[in-house]
Symmetry: C2
Subunit: 408 residues, 2 copies
């Protein structure tokens, strides 16, 4: 098995048979795009992962009820999460799907809905309907993945797109993706956390079961490994649509072709996950926390999350302040097993603490390392052989300002 991945310019419309665009329906002030539509010319086998938050937005509940259907389109909006909106909200989500099905002559039950924005406000449906009417006409002549990516942004500063191409049995196959998400980011999709919305497309031919398995595996080492602010959103969703137009040999069991597909999918997911952390609300640093030599994977994860979620570690990194004691203090309350006299702490490549003592020379160099926009914190717990990594961002004044004011 050999995977030759070719990175493509573009995103969700790189795989054959997909079209997408975005319009303004007036849900956001200022005429920004806030309605996005993604369609496939062939109904798609679809795998989805949704938030584990028990307060689930109306569109999430609708999509869950459709998760075994063949899906032709996803209608998305920003500016309003349609969450904690009661039965009105449920009806509104259904109306959005119904309207797209009618206007574009799709099967009943073949459209999913994704919403992001403020919680607890009912959608202004005349604006939503206006936007849907507009976009269902426009999609026939315009195919622009950037307009879709733009339409799903909330506090995001940048669009997030990725696409790769590879071969399966001599056939060229593509996977594309786009994501939004900057705050409320700690996806727990039946394992992730955030308001993170991720749309993935592929023209590969693959069975529903194998598509679900590939998505679960890819998400587990991408979107499930990021945390901006440890708040798990009510609306997190990852959609993966596969229309089979590439006409490769159907992937319906484990094997080389499945592994190749999964690896390519993981690459797309990790690219988007890194973009989300880098664009984290107010973030000035990307922090890669790696825990090695743990007794169990769960221990390694506990240590990584305690450090990655610590207000004090995150503010120290923002301050470019090598206060490594805070890292070990977070480890100390993490419940992970470790041997303080044998563990090793590194910041980037500098050993800061080992054999029960600080390395004074490297400590003074660490401040220089922290000037870099990407920081790695590596801890060897000296307690076993397991490992875990987590990507997170620093905690800044801008984060506080954005979230003190955000109500849109």
């Amino acid at each position: 098995m050999e995977l030759k991945l070719k990175e493509l310019e573009g995103g969700i419309t790189e795989p054959m048979g997909f079209r997408a665009t975005g319009v303004s329906g007036g849900l956001k002030d200022g005429g920004y795009k806030d309605i996005g539509l993604l369609v496939s010319r062939k109904p798609c086998t679809t795998a989805c992962l949704f938030t584990k938050n028990k307060v689930k937005a109306a569109p999430v509940a609708l999509d869950i009820s459709r998760s075994d259907n063949l899906i032709s389109a996803i209608i998305a909006n920003s500016g309003n999460a349609n969450c904690l909106t009661g039965t009105t909200g449920d009806n509104d989500a259904l109306t959005m799907a119904d309207r797209v099905e009618e206007l574009l002559s799709f099967e009943k039950g073949s459209v999913m809905v994704a919403s992001t924005g403020v919680i607890g406000r009912k959608l202004i449906m005349n604006r939503v309907n206006y936007g849907i009417d507009k976009i269902c006409t426009l999609i026939k002549t315009e195919n622009n993945y950037k307009n879709f990516s733009n339409a799903i942004m909330t506090t995001d500063k940048k669009m997030k797109n990725a696409a790769y191409e590879f071969e399966l049995d001599g056939k060229t196959v593509r996977i594309g993706g786009t994501a939004k998400g900057a705050g409320m980011i700690k996806p727990v999709l039946e394992a992730p956390h955030a308001t993170m919305l991720v749309f993935l497309t592929t023209d590969a031919l693959i069975s529903g079961d194998m598509l679900k398995l590939a998505l679960k595996d890819a998400v587990d080492i991408s979107f499930n490994r990021i945390s901006v602010d440890n708040d798990t959103s009510t609306n997190d969703s990852v959609f993966l649509m596969a229309n089979g137009i590439a006409e490769n040999h159907l992937i319906d069991a484990d094997g080389d072709n499945f592994k190749i597909f999964r690896e390519a999918l993981t690459k797309v997911c990790q690219s988007l996950a890194r973009m989300i952390v880098k664009d984290g609300e107010g973030a000035s640093k990307f922090i890669n926390i790696t825990i090695n030599s743990a007794a169990t994977v769960s221990d390694a994860e506990k240590a990584a999350r305690a450090i990655g979620d610590s207000f004090l570690v995150k503010t120290a990194i923002f301050g470019q302040n090598p206060n490594w004691g805070r890292i070990l203090a977070a480890l100390g309350y993490s419940d992970a097993k470790f041997d303080l006299s044998q563990l090793t702490l590194r910041i980037n490549d500098l050993v800061i603490y080992e054999k029960g003592d600080v390395n004074k020379a490297n400590e003074s160099l660490a401040a220089g390392e922290l000037l870099s926009p990407e920081i790695s914190i590596t801890l060897d717990l000296a307690a076993g052989k397991k490992e875990y990594f987590l990507w997170t961002s620093d905690l800044t004044c801008d984060y506080v300002k954005i979230n003190a004011n955000y109500l849109s």
Copy 2:
């Protein structure tokens, strides 16, 4: 049983037989007080609770080894936590205790040590010793609880003192206390979390077992109910010294006198706990979260902590922004059982959400309520009869600035 509590001006030196003061040893820049000494003229039955963090500072380890001893004094320093300092740190903590024992002719093993400040730096012992020599002379002529309170402050803006007087069998008994702590506050003392240091004194006559029980009960509904930033410190300690000089009937079993003592102690602890939250690093609001009608106490605590620790709830309150959806989103990921169609959410006395829908009229009034420096968030989960409360603060730009710069 009736408790008549009289609030006293003052703090740890209100109970008979205690003296305290503070000096500068040069551990902090600028000549600020950084060495504090608390002594009792009679050796004290002493109950202590220490951090559960597995990384424990050297003085905490020393104190734990002395927890069954009669204690005559506590020597405290700020400016350096003496944590992650290896065997040098252990020796330094012991030297501090030894030196006080010698200079003041106390029994071996009768002095405890408390340190707070930056982690991972060794104490400059010539300065510490200089300060100890100075304070052991000064304590003979100066008795000033404020100087002690000052000497233990780090990022605290205000001193925290409380004292109460009450009657037991016709004898007057007093309990006094002082605390420091503003950040790294989430005490988990074998159950609390922070760098929180709390010193409590009483002239009551009470057995060691009953003293420990009273302290555990009082801490459980005071210091264990506060969270500033969800970081559990390596140095948290609560000390309660009882010298018996009030000559009440010995409290050595449960009964009215024990209950009166415990209630008075709880009052002192709750007063100090509230002061810690109000003086939380950068805090602009005191937030009282109350969860009612939960299925279990553990559920109620999970809900309270998810809400109280949420970056998004804390920044919304800082912004005086009634984004109540964030409160219910935090509840949603808390693992607590609730009935979304029956629960009630109040901000101060305003019902914001009930019977599955927002109260629009009250929602618009909520912004006005959030101008107040004390905010209560009350959630009725409609799942049972249990309850829990938690006191926390908001998350502000000042918190980020303080912790981005703090290395002292």
